[in-house]
Structure formats: C-alpha cells, structure tokens
C-alpha cells in the first residue's frame, strides 16, 4: 500500500465503510450481474437479541436444587388434548420442525423420522407432501397443511398423527415458498403435479380461506374429515404474536407453533430472511400473554422455534412459557449438514463449512438438501437417525440439568423467575430483570 505519494504527502490508511461493507458490496455486484435477488436457505444471520442474552440463576438458600442422578426431572409433554380424541404424547419437548421433501432428500426425511422416533418425539412433513419414508419411520408424524397444498391428499391426512395448518414461517412472514428447477426431480415433480425442472413458486396465502373467521371454518372441515381424532396445530411466523396467538386459539387450534426470524427456510430471498419478522426471544412473552388472557396457557400448547440449538435454549424457551420447541437447522447439522469434513467441496462451491446455505441449488456435499441421486448416496439414513437421536438426548439432558439446578422436577416448572437478562434489550423482550437489578424496561409500576 502506498504510504505517501511522489511529493511525500502522507495518505490516510485505506478505510472500509461501516455502511458499504465487503458483504454489502459483494451483494450489490451479485445483483448487478444477475438481475435477481439472492435466494438462500437457513435463517437470519444477523445478530439479534437471543437466548444467549439470558442466564439461569440456579438454586440458592431460598430455592433448593434436585439431586442430579437420583431425583427425577420429567420431560414429557402432551400436545392437543383440548379438542382431539388422540392427543400427541411426547417423551421430550423437542420436536422436529416441518421441512419439505423436495428441499430435503428422501433418505434425509427418513433419518429425521428414525432419530425423532428413537428419542420419543415427532417429526413434521412440509411443502411437498408426505413420503412413505417419513411416515414409515416416524412414530408420530405431523402433516403440514400449506398454502401450496402440494401433495395434499385426504389419505395422507388420515394417516397423520396431527395436522399443522401453516400460516407463516419465521424466515419469511408473509412470504411463499420457492423450489428452483434444479431440485424438481421426477419424483418431486410428480408429488407436486408440476412439470419437471421449472422454478416452482408456492403461494403465500391459502387458496380457500383468508382471515380468522375462515380459519375457524377450515379447522372445522379438517376435524370433520379426520373425525376429531387428531390435534390441529396452527403455525405462525413471529410477526404479531399476541394477536396471532389469540386468533389461532379463537379459531379452535389445539396448539400454536410460533417461529421466530432466526428460523430456517429451504429457500427464500435473503432480504426477506434478514429484514422481516421478529427475533425468537421477542415473540414468546406476547404469545404466552395471549394464552393466559384467554385462560388457555398449558391447555393450548405453545411450540416455539427459530434458532433453537441447545438444552439451554430449550430450558429458556420453556421458562418463558413455551410447552415445547421445534428444531430445523440444528437437526440438519446433527445429520451432517455443513460438516467440515466436506470443506474441500464447500470451497469448490465458493463457500466454507458452516456458511453453506445454497440449499436450493441441490448440490449439497453432505447429500441432505439435494435430489441428486449421487450426492444422496453419501448420506446414510440409519447413521443420520442415530446422530439425531444422540443430539436430541443430549439437549434433553442439558435442559434437565438446568431444571434440576433450579429445583424443578419437570421442565414445565421452569419459570421466568429463574432467569435474568444480560442486556436491556433481552430484559425488555423476555420481561425478566436485567442481571444485578430487579428491573426490566417496561416493568409495570416503574415509570418506564
């Protein structure tokens, strides 16, 4: 770098802009070259207030802990007991979120079913319908009812253990789906009644209902078709959690699935992922408030998702009032997605392990988010299922460790009083005191 010019006048050091960062500039160049917005998988990559900004206090003189290996800490949860004849009974409060066949390969769906079943929890279908692989390997399978209705049929509906009406997804509240031509294989095309190889757009609104009053009638229809046997969940993005939860309950949902902006997607515009929706931490309390205001907390279950990674995240979500959580991205990583063992291939794709998010292109070196038969062969569903089971068990043990330390004999007994926040933002969102104080912004009676 020139330190001065030929006349000896010193230059200032080259300085990168905080506004026009290298990331931003590369995106401008990409847009200029292609004429299309950036589409990618995964969730928001920006830093937002999160569960990392909360801490448990643990036991002290006023609260006594439970003995680690002797005193039980229960983890089971029942979902959908309000209206359904056969509610879902899970051993652990960590479910596998809806991820479409099409986005994921058949063997990857099988592995999710194997792992979840071995850990005593449920899996969920996705845009694109139910495959025999996942129905066959999932003890409890939640069938998604999406705007696109790809692969939707009453035979599969009746095979489901629960139905999830998808209104929105945290990665893209108000957005539809996208599956680019590369991934529309013969099988995917057939299941979706579409020509092979086209870019497939999924609608953002349901074709046959709009608004809360219609939703109530739609729920009635689905219950009539399935004889009121299975629970009906409603999945909403973390947009207006108080009102959405209220309206879902009033429409007759058995459970509300609430997905924050860190939540993953198979393929969505980057601008959508990063700029629409609220952080997972910010949406729990309003949803729980809605449940409490209607006298429905613990009667209608709240399943929270969006960036859940560890037993600590599970415990924090439950302490703030969730009944269970759902994981997407973390489950894929457990299966082997973004594993550094494929680093050379990630480099060849112009990326690096951990940052690979072009799932829509179908070239996943780990063979998980692809329909390419050769890449798919790299992934062993039995081994994948075993890894997922291990991971789910570890998360559960971690959550139990925390709950026992807080003196709780069931994960559901964790409460906001067990938590403090590290930042003002997290304190305001979680409505728990800033560490070292007895105050949070917005606390009633404090004048803020």
């Amino acid at each position: 770098m020139n330190k001065h010019d030929e006349k000896g006048i010193p230059h200032t050091t080259p300085r990168q802009s905080a506004t026009f960062t290298q990331d931003v500039n590369s995106d401008i160049r990409r847009a200029a070259a292609t004429g299309i917005y950036d589409i990618r998988g995964g969730g928001a990559k920006r830093k937002v207030p999160s569960f990392d900004d909360l801490l448990f206090m643990g036991a002290s003189i006023s609260r006594y802990p439970l003995e680690g290996y002797r005193e039980k800490c229960e983890t089971s949860v029942t979902i959908g007991g309000l209206h359904a004849e056969n509610p879902i009974e899970l051993d652990i409060p960590i479910t596998i979120a809806g991820m479409s066949f099409g986005a994921l390969s058949g063997p990857a769906k099988e592995a999710l079913g194997r792992g979840a079943s071995a850990a005593g929890t449920s899996t969920t279908t996705g845009d694109g319908g139910m495959t025999p692989e996942e129905r066959g390997h999932s003890n409890k399978l939640v069938y998604q009812y999406l705007p696109s209705r790809y692969g939707m049929n009453p035979d599969d509906l009746r095979k489901a253990d629960a139905i999830e009406i998808v209104v929105g997804q945290g990665a893209k509240p108000g957005g539809g789906g996208m599956l680019l031509g590369q991934k529309i294989s013969d099988r995917v095309a057939h299941m979706r009644n579409l020509p092979k190889g086209i870019d497939q757009r999924s609608a953002c609104r349901h074709p046959d209902w709009t608004g809360p009053d219609d939703l109530e009638i739609k729920i009635l229809e689905l219950r009539e078709i399935t004889g009121w046997k299975v629970p009906i969940y409603v999945k909403v993005a973390g947009a207006r959690p108080y009102y959405d939860t209220t309206l879902a309950i009033k429409a007759g949902a058995d459970a509300v699935v609430l997905d924050g902006m860190q939540g993953g997607t198979a393929a969505t515009q980057d601008v959508f992922i990063e700029h629409v929706g609220q952080p997972t931490l910010a949406i729990i309390r309003p949803a729980v408030q809605a449940l409490q205001d209607l006298g429905m907390h613990r009667k209608v279950q709240l399943i929270l998702s969006g960036g859940i990674r560890t037993g600590a995240d599970v415990a924090k979500a439950m302490a703030l009032g969730a009944d269970a959580v759902a994981i997407g991205t973390a489950a894929l990583i457990a299966l082997g997605d973004n594993d550094p063992k494929w680093e050379a291939e990630y480099n060849a794709l112009g990326t690096t392990a951990g940052a690979y998010d072009d799932w829509h292109e179908g070239k996943d070196p780990a063979g998980i988010t692809t329909q390419d038969p050769e890449l798919m062969k790299r992934f062993d569903p039995i081994e994948g299922g075993r890894r997922l089971r291990n991971y789910l068990k570890v998360m559960t043990l971690e959550a139990q460790t925390i709950a026992r330390a807080c003196g709780k004999n069931h994960l559901h007994n964790l409460e906001p009083e067990d938590l403090v926040a590290l930042t003002m933002e997290a304190a305001a969102m979680a409505k728990v005191p800033l560490a070292g104080t007895d105050w949070y912004p917005g606390k009633p009676g404090t004048g803020f």
Binding site: D199, P207, D208, E224, T226
Partner: protein, 239 residues
Amino acid sequence: MRPQPPPKRPLNMQTIDLTEVGLRETNKTLHAQSADTNQTAWEIVNPRGSHAIACGLDAPIEVTVKGSTGYYCGGMNQQATVNIHGSAGPGTGENIMSGKIVIEGDASQYLGATGHGGLIVVKGNASSRCGISMKGVNIVVQGNIGHMSAFMGQSGNLVVCGDAGDALGDSCYEARFFVRGTVKSLGADCEKKEMRPEHLEILKGLLDEAGFDADPSEFTRYGSARNLYNFDVDNAAAY
C-alpha cells in the same frame, strides 16, 4: 341444457335432517359407508348453509343436499357424488380427488381449489378464484366465472360456457381453460391457444359428462405461455 328425466327417488334413500342430527353425526354416518355399502343414496335436508357438509367422503355413494351449503361442502371428496340442490359456499369441493360434485345453483369463491381429480359441475355461475391452484380436477360451469380464476392452476380443465372475469389463469402451469364467451382479461403468463382436435375431444367429453348442450367449436382455449417457468430478469414485472 338437455331435457332430463325427472329425478327418481331411489327406493333405499336414507334421509338425514342435518338440523336435527347435527354435522358431526351426519358426516360420521356418511364416513362409515364402505366401498360395498348397499346404502348408496343419501339425502340431507335442512342444511341451512352449514359448513363442511359431506366433506371427506370416500365411498361410491350419492349424497343430495336439499338446499344451500356453506364453506367446503364435498371437500376432499373421493369416489362419492355430491349434489347440491341450492347454492354452494366458498371452497366447495376443495382438494377433490375423485367423484363428482353437482351444484344446481351458483358457487361462491374458490370452487374446487387445489382439486386433484374428479368433476365439479355448476349449473349457475361460479365466483372469483374458481379452480384456484387446480391440480387435475375438471370444472364445468354453465354460467360465468369471476376474477382470478384458475390462479396458479397446475393441471386439469376449466370449462366455462359463459364469460370469464379478470386475470384468468394468472401464473398458471399446465391447466387448460376453455371459455365460450368473453374473457375480461388474461392473467400473467396466460395466453390464447390453438384448439386442436384432441382439445375438442376433451372439451366434448367434459360437456357431455356435465350434461351441457354446448358446441365445442364455439369455445376458445387458453393456457400457460410458459414464460415464467424459469426466472428471467426481463420478465420481472410479471411476477
């Protein structure tokens, strides 16, 4: 319309008074009919616009609803024939897989939404979004249809003996549209197509099946221009 013999009441007709029996018991009774049931003729009286009547049927039975229905009558139908002797509410026959739904009056919006198979016949008019996201169903309307019909239609045939409203077939895939009257406007990527002999044959078959006496040669075919199938920046305004 062709002259038709007066409907005969089958000897073993079972009658359900919906107001008395309630929706749950009514649907439960219909769902309990198996493939070889000999109680194939059912009549539902006093429907009073109730929602979800005769949805999720899966047996070769014929259900006649004497009056108008609310949302989702005949939803997800398989095998059965559902006759509505009145007008039909929103989403009638949504996601129909097979069988037949015949509406004597008018149909509200989203008729046959996402239907995969079977036939829906409307003797009156159908409202907006008729055949939205259709995936194989055949819909034959004797009157007119409203705006945004067959939006994102994937496959199947929509036959309109009258006129079509705005934005017919917007963003459609491989569904076919046959309109005898005028089309107020075509949606993005929907265009007029050549009517080849095989299309005339399909159309004739559907008109016959619906019992409508219309001359196939008077219809115009519309379908996807297939310009939006793979993204192209020069088409960005159409998305």
